[in-house]
């Protein structure tokens, strides 16, 4: 297994707050790795730093052996690194299908000249088939023509996942994919993530829910005060004394 993502000593300070401090971890191809920490530990900042939304003050990020530190998010997407957002970010006023079509920019946009040449029927048959297949796999096929705004919350989360998958990433970074979901919806999301992983997509899941992370991930990195507290399998990490101390009195698990 080769290393797909390598984070080396990244740090980020916001004013007086050192949000991330010398964080290092790596992710191998095909893994599902969890990044866990209590709220405020810097999990979203970590994703922001890796995905290019913010530039780390120090440290490097390697994706597939290439130094991608500080590259813009869209450049990273083209290299196969995609992230989702904590608050559901979907195009509220568009249909489910249109949402996913927009997610496929990296693979399906033919450039200005060709798009003019093709006109309104711009997507190739092949790309359409890929999208429809993705919708079917995620159980969104029947809702394809519904407006995203009208979807129940759980389905909007799945839609967010679909948009990310439409870019056919090598590595997908999910920011609290199960937050706010009811138990059966959590199970659904878990199965979709596992299925994506089985088809070859590596996953980095960021969350504060230890049970969710433990079920899903093969390896867990515990984040505390902006740096790595412990790494290992979920079993190892949940038994780690330092982790238990850090987690005393923090997040409770939602049903």
């Amino acid at each position: 297994m080769s290393e797909l993502l390598q984070v080396q000593g990244i740090s980020k300070r916001f004013g007086a707050l050192q949000a991330i401090e010398l964080l290092s971890f790596s992710l191998n191809e095909g893994e599902i790795v969890g990044l866990i920490g209590p709220n405020g530990a810097g999990k979203t900042t970590a994703i922001n730093l890796i995905s290019g939304v913010m530039r780390p003050d120090r440290g490097r990020v390697f994706f597939g052996a290439e130094d991608v530190t500080g590259m813009s998010p869209h450049v990273l997407v083209n290299r196969g690194l995609v992230r989702t957002f904590q608050a559901t970010t979907v195009y509220q006023d568009q249909t489910v299908r249109e949402n996913v079509l927009r997610g496929a920019y990296a693979k399906a946009y033919p450039g200005l000249a060709k798009s003019l040449w093709r006109g309104p029927q711009g997507i190739s048959r092949h790309d359409e088939a890929v999208i429809d297949d993705l919708l079917a796999q995620l159980g969104l096929a029947e809702m394809a023509q519904l407006t995203a705004r009208n979807l129940p919350y759980g389905h909007q989360k799945v839609l967010g996942l679909a948009i990310a998958l439409a870019a056919q990433p090598r590595l997908m970074m999910l920011d609290e994919p199960a937050a706010g979901l009811a138990h059966d919806e959590v199970v659904h999301i878990e199965s979709f993530i596992r299925r994506a992983n089985a088809s070859g997509i590596s996953v980095l899941v960021v969350d504060h829910n230890m049970r969710f992370i433990s079920t899903l991930c093969q390896r867990v990195v515990v984040l505390h005060h902006g740096s790595e507290l412990a790494t290992g399998t979920p079993q190892e990490v949940t038994r780690d004394q330092r982790v238990i101390e850090a987690y005393l009195g923090t997040s409770h698990e939602p049903a």
Partner: protein, 328 residues
Amino acid sequence: MRPANVAVALPAPARQRALKWVLLGVLAAALLIWPLFTHDFFYTHIATLVLLYCIGGASLHLLVRMGQLSLGHAAFMGIGGYTSALLSTRLGWPFIPAFVASAIVPALVALVLGPILLRLRGVYFVMITYSFGELVRLLFNEWQSLTGGADGIFQIPPPHPFLATSREYYYFALLMAVLCVGFTGRLLSSQTGRFIDAIRESDRLAQSSGVPVLRFKVMVFVISCGLVGMQGSLMAHYIHYLSPGAFGFSESLNFLVFNVIGGMQTLAGPIIGAAFLVSLPELLRGWVELQRVLYGVILIVVMLYLPGGLVMIGRRALELLPIGKGER
């Protein structure tokens, strides 16, 4: 007994599309016979102006669809207009290369300034484009050796001796308007248009799907400014005169108002807006100030009661017609 009405048998979306084609056909016919139909040159003149302003209104629509509202668009029209006018009057260039230059020069300016200006959004973009527009107007006014200053440039030749009269120029303007607006429409309905809308609705989400947002915006900005530069040239060679006053805040505001009043969501919006707002002042001549008061009041009323623009009237009319429920 079954009625022989074929329309009943068609599904609703097809009926709507058929109606759209019928309307477009009627419009095309009307546009083609307009100068023959009205003997008074004045009405042909208004129609020519409307057609030319459709180009600029449509070009600003590209920016509006991207979520960038510019209050300096007329400056680019001026850059194009002056380029064409100067090349043909000072350097004796024939029309076609001068016209091509009138698209290229503003596009180049947009290419250089775009990466800087388009980092700003919302109110800040409005302010910076407004300032840019004023700077350009001052340049036009003060750089007398180049632009002739406040006096302007006279005796700009028509594109071809054949196009010196208003009726012939009308058809030329119609052709150019159809080409430019058609191009814009094609762009908006293509994959590129999909991502223009995506950028407007959520540039964060678009970027996280791989859209190079700033570069994309600059690309659209370049196209938009090139198109309005062409309007500048077409106007210069029609009126045979141009001056800095024609490219100031008032004109930039007009373009924006066409879009807002006509409707910002579809290309039909600025077309309707241009048709309505260019012809209105000409038709109400004689009460210039009163008519401008009316203009201001209309702006307020539309914003308060018809925020989707005049296009919404057409939409609701379509819904009310007995052709069944349309899609969406």
